[in-house]
């Protein structure tokens, strides 16, 4: 495939790829980053591209895989919700500054717990409880079936609850 063909065939689907990445990662810059990577890889392999029956599907699969890689990267953690714990507290009516601090600590604690979960649990919990995706979408993104997803998610949610209550009992003894 030459550069003219490349542009004509692949540029029209850029928006579609971007929308997908943006939806999964909920971050404009991250999504942009992924799409650029996809195009870089496509361009690098343009010699072989002519053989691909459906380039759009191929590019979409590549985008999905890169999004999953990003989820798995050590840096991608539950703290990526883009919401500051302080904002959450303030949104909930008038509460004392002390209570805001406590709530923020607790929210940070949950983020820590989530980021320490095994990968399969962390990914599904992030996609469901942070990004709010439905199970079909999560299945599509991760390539796991829905039953497996639910088993992992249930374990993840219970683990968070368990660790939260352990930490808090412990904390109360300390105080």
């Amino acid at each position: 495939m030459d550069s003219k063909e490349f542009v004509e065939t692949l540029l029209p689907i850029r928006d579609k790829l971007f929308r997908y990445a943006k939806r999964v990662l909920i971050n404009y810059e991250e999504a942009e980053d992924i799409v650029q990577e996809v195009y870089l890889r496509l361009w690098t392999n343009r010699e072989q591209l002519a053989e691909k029956k459906s380039l759009e599907a191929f590019a979409m699969t590549m985008t999905k895989n890169l999004c999953i890689d990003r989820y798995r990267s050590k840096g991608y953690q539950a703290s990526n919700t883009g919401v500051d714990a302080g904002e959450v507290s303030i949104a909930a009516n008038s509460i004392s500054p002390q209570k805001i601090t406590e709530q923020r600590d607790a929210v940070d604690l949950v983020k820590q717990i989530v980021s320490s979960l095994p990968e399969n649990m962390r990914i599904v919990l992030t996609l469901r409880d942070v990004q709010g995706l439905d199970y079909d979408e999560i299945a599509e993104i991760t390539g796991s079936n829905i039953n497996t997803l639910k088993v992992n998610l249930s374990r993840a949610r219970k683990r968070v609850r368990e660790e939260l209550s352990n930490k808090y009992q412990y904390k109360n003894y300390e105080d």
């Binding site: 909920i26 971050n27 404009y28 810059e29 991250e30 980053d33 990267s73 840096g75 991608y76 953690q77 539950a78 703290s79 990526n80 919700t81 883009g82 919401v83 714990a85 904002e87 959450v88 949104a91 909930a92 009516n93 709530q103 607790a106 929210v107 604690l109 949950v110 983020k111 989530v114 409880d129 942070v130 990004q131 709010g132 439905d134 639910k150 998610l153 249930s154 949610r157 219970k158 968070v160 609850r161 939260l164 209550s165 808090y168």
Partner: protein, 70 residues
């Protein structure tokens, strides 16, 4: 937000067994954001509010720098 604690108890159990719908999960989040959280639910508040996505911002809050990918 007027709430029926027994109904919330049921929903919370369903949540941990992954039997809640997205709508029900949204409802639970609203409950945990409200001032009417029952005393025996307080410990769960952080789990339900930590990911509040009402204002997903587009800033670089990922904690990952570009260079880690290069």
């Amino acid at each position: 937000m007027k709430t029926d604690v027994k109904q919330i108890d049921v929903l919370i159990d369903k949540f941990y067994d992954c039997e809640t719908t997205l709508e029900e999960e949204k409802y639970l989040k609203q409950y945990f954001h409200s001032d009417n959280v029952a005393p025996h639910h307080k410990i769960l508040v952080p789990q339900f509010i930590f990911a509040d996505n009402d204002s997903p911002n587009l800033s670089n809050s990922f904690g990952i720098t570009q260079s880690e990918y290069e």
